[in-house]
Symmetry: C2
Subunit: 562 residues, 2 copies
């Protein structure tokens, strides 16, 4: 696009669509300044299938499936509704961008038709979308990790030493081993992030983000045929037959909106469709956090940390590092905490007495607000508690889902707000551990930026600032992922030269919205040192009691002494 | 008494009076078989003074005082009421026995008048009774322990290496240092257990139990004048001036009921008054648990373990060993757990959601019952949790009140009944640690007998049987201490030759009321091994995080960062 076209395109609009776990959300955004003009949400008709298929076929434990047609319904409903809400003429829209949960995998035919839509497959669980939180492929992941470690596969270090059961290879191997016929019928094993783009523009383009983080695509190559054959002879052709090495860089155009998709969305046929992306990573430009050293934490049920770096480093315990995984030309790093908001939700549901619920109800607060209010006036360490935030395992930096939660220091005077605060602090200590791992590996964290639902808890945010001893910047938009997708659409349409420039114009963050208090930061140093001691004692093999308790529990549930 | 008199006395009655923390309870008992014919309770008018004196004079933190006249009121009211309830003629009563909380100290004049009843002392906190749970003498206890260890005082090992801030010397040194004039006015520093006997019979007799366990009276001697002078020159005469070395053995007669006390109680003047005793120790004959190797656990808010042994051994971490401390002629051992029922109460009050309270209310249960019911069906280890039962510190075998509670293994599926069961198990593991300390020191525990309020929880009792891998016998009487006092009265009156014989006739226990399940016992061995590893890691100096968290908390409360 020449400069004149770029200027003209900046007067236009873009649409971003964020495909979440339960619904899709579209937002209409002004290219010039990122103003959000209107938005709409459409819940998936089938939600998450974790007990049975729509026809009643039961599912095993840890399964989590979805129905691809539900995604198309978002295009049909949420996009036109967002245009309506914005009150704009759809002809002003110059591009559409999308982001998706990941790793969420669709088995398709050669033309992209999901297998579940084929005659004879409606009752086959393996013919449906395996959602990111489908956790039934752990045995396959264990074997992949063990073999990769044994063979010294060079890509393993790019994933902090372990790949996840959620990712493409583990789910694909499960498909092969549990349903060989469905595996044979699968002509493409497609990230939903790419499948939706395929529906929009008629072209299958693998986005660099999921290919790298979830597809073990590193240095323009995949795991070798030899490695795959050693896993399972039938798996030797997985890469060649089911994955396509054609990748699109983030912020590029995947193609143009088809007539069919134009009819679904009400948008003009022929507008640019951006390469797909992942909900966390796409948020970086929306928070104006794409420069090297800007760590973006998307904090909700769990927390995802993403950060660009100029050089390739092996950060112990990270989730992954991918060339161009966040923006082209930089190394995109990812780390994560498996449990953050969900630990607080668990405590509020299971560990707070009725008198607190009554007080909250009488004052029109929810329990999180009430506990935060009661805990907010405490001095650091006043509650005498210390927790480990591993109630749903530890993603970074220990990468061990056999770990569990710990609370030490309870006395007969310990109150619910004390425990709540200790749990918040534990998640902050977990974040600090990750930040220090990056700093220590030569990928320094210069700025800490937060997006996500936990932004609404100011006590939590202040504790993070104090524990990290860093100012915390906060995303300006309440529509982080959808805005990020819209920014990618603007770049793909040529309105900006790259994602960084688009982020500067369209994204935004409140700089240093929370500043550390020096005295509290010093006080937290002392508690953090205690956290790290327990972290290493329980998490690095000195005392594997957590792992053994899980084993004892499994044996007991399987029919031990009662 | 000759055999004829003994036979005649067995047709008589005895009265036992148990002076607890909040009330006194009298029971009328048949000498022949221990049948309890009637009982009555009288609450202390002033209860526990822990915020202010009756005239409003404020008290410092950790203070806990009582008013001696409240004890006399129990004699005036509860004793006649018990006689009435029994519907018996008081002339049939041949003796009265009493037991008391300890170490509970009364400062008196030479004739036993409590100082608070003297002109000019009503507003002086130091003129009142320092109740067992007065915990403001910790600095004095620390100095006594440090000096005794430095000097290698021979008595220190008799107390597991540490004496308590609750005991006679620490409280006496606090009195001297904080109120020298009151110390000078104190002509006797009297255990309430002996003061009440003094009121009954007009004679001051130091019972062997408190003299030994609380008064550092060992091998017919007290700590030396030299030792006391090194603590504080003004304290040199503490033993000679304030304590009297005249002790009475348990089960002996201290004297005869005075006319005045006969008028209070409605009992015949001249009947035998037994030497005083402590509530826990006096319970042993009521539970028929006075033989060597019979460990009696009085389980309530906290647990006290007492056991006779034939030889003197130094058991690491015991509370004390006293010659004749439970029954004359045997070495009486004592150990304890600072928190048991109170940990469960704390959890039920602070950690169980309203939905459970609603269910319990709808079904007419209390929350302990409901949680026990929900936890009862679990297999051992099914909850995946492990706790340390140190929420109010550890009395035995670590003797460290800076320790605190711990819970490991929590996940997002952990429910309140899981935590409840883990806490019950932790207290059982704590008991097993004590039992093993006695076994390992050459004082084997042959039988485990339980008295106290926790008897009413069958899940808890069964878990103890499984964790200890021992049958558990349970006291028959619901009035353990008062019955024990009555048994001591019968012995003092000569109705039985000794406490053992009286216990055989008047006490009782259900043998092996709970039997261990072999499979569960084996399963608990595995969890107990994990408990011991954490016990030693947190409790024996490898990681003193609990101590540091307490220190941080104290600093924070004193005005640290907020």
């Amino acid at each position: 696009m020449n400069p004149v076209d770029a200027v003209r395109s900046r007067s236009g609009l873009v649409v971003g669509v964020d495909f979440g776990t339960l619904s899709g959300r579209a937002v209409v955004v002004r290219v010039a300044d990122g103003a959000e003009l209107g938005s709409a949400t459409h819940p998936y008709r089938h939600g998450v299938l974790d007990r049975a298929l729509p026809d009643g076929t039961p599912l095993g434990p840890d399964w989590a499936l979805q129905v691809p047609a539900d995604y198309v319904d978002v295009l049909r409903t949420a996009v036109p509704a967002a245009i309506d809400a914005a009150g704009v003429d759809p002809v002003r829209v110059i591009a559409i961008g999308t982001d998706f949960t990941a790793c969420t995998m669709v088995p398709t035919t050669a033309d992209g038709t999901p297998l579940n839509e084929l005659e004879g497959f409606a009752s086959d669980p393996h013919a449906y979308v395996k959602l990111w939180k489908h956790h039934a492929a752990q045995p396959q992941a264990d074997r992949i990790n063990a073999l990769a470690a044994k063979r010294g596969e060079p890509w393993l270090a790019r994933y902090g030493g372990l790949i996840s059961s959620e990712w493409e290879f583990a789910k694909g191997l499960q498909l092969l081993e549990e349903s060989p016929a469905t595996y044979r019928a699968t002509e493409h094993w497609v990230e939903a992030a790419d499948w939706i783009v395929w529906q929009l523009c008629g072209r299958y383009v693998r986005n660099a983000c999921t290919a790298g983080y979830k597809g073990i695509y590193q240095d323009d190559t995949y795991p070798t045929r030899d490695f795959l054959a050693e896993l399972d002879p039938g798996f030797a052709g997985f890469v060649d037959d089911k994955l396509r090495p054609v990748t699109g860089r983030l912020g590029a155009a995947a193609g143009r909106l088809t007539e069919e998709a134009a009819a679904w969305t009400g948008l003009p046929a022929g507008i640019v469709v951006a390469v797909g992306n992942v909900d966390a990573h796409v948020t970086a430009p929306a928070a104006r956090a794409t420069e090297p050293g800007q760590m973006l934490a998307i904090m909700g049920t769990s927390t995802c940390h993403i950060m660009n770096g100029e050089a390739l480093r092996e950060v112990p315990g990270m989730c992954g590092v991918v060339d161009g995984g966040i923006t082209p030309g930089l190394w995109g790093y990812e780390a994560g905490q498996s449990g953050v908001g969900d630990i607080l939700d668990w405590f509020v549901t299971n560990g707070v007495p009725g008198s607190y619920a009554d007080e909250a109800a009488a004052r029109g607060l929810d329990l999180h607000d009430l506990l935060s209010e009661k805990a907010a006036t405490q001095a650091v360490g006043e509650h005498g508690l210390l927790a480990l935030d591993w109630h749903s395992g530890n993603r970074s930096v220990l990468v061990d889902h056999e770990l569990s939660g710990l609370l030490v220091g309870a006395t007969l005077t310990t109150r619910p707000e004390d425990v709540y605060r200790a749990l918040v602090e534990a998640t902050a200590f977990g974040t600090r551990t990750i930040v220090e791992a990056f700093d220590g590996a030569g990928v320094p964290v210069r700025e800490f930026v937060v997006a996500g639902g936990l932004l609404k808890n100011p006590l939590l945010m202040q504790i993070y600032a104090d524990v990290l001893d860093k100012p915390i910047s906060t995303i300006r938009s309440a529509e982080g992922p959808a805005l990020g997708s819209a920014i990618h659409a603007a770049v793909a349409a040529g309105a900006y030269p790259d994602i960084h420039a688009a982020a500067a114009a369209m994204g935004g963050a409140t700089q240093a919205a929370y500043r550390p208090d020096p005295a509290r930061a010093t006080a937290y140093d002392e508690l953090y040192a205690e956290y790290r001691t327990l972290h290493d004692y329980f998490g690095r093999g000195t005392n594997e009691v957590m792992r053994r308790l899980r084993g004892i529990r499994r044996r007991a549930l399987a029919g031990g002494a009662s």
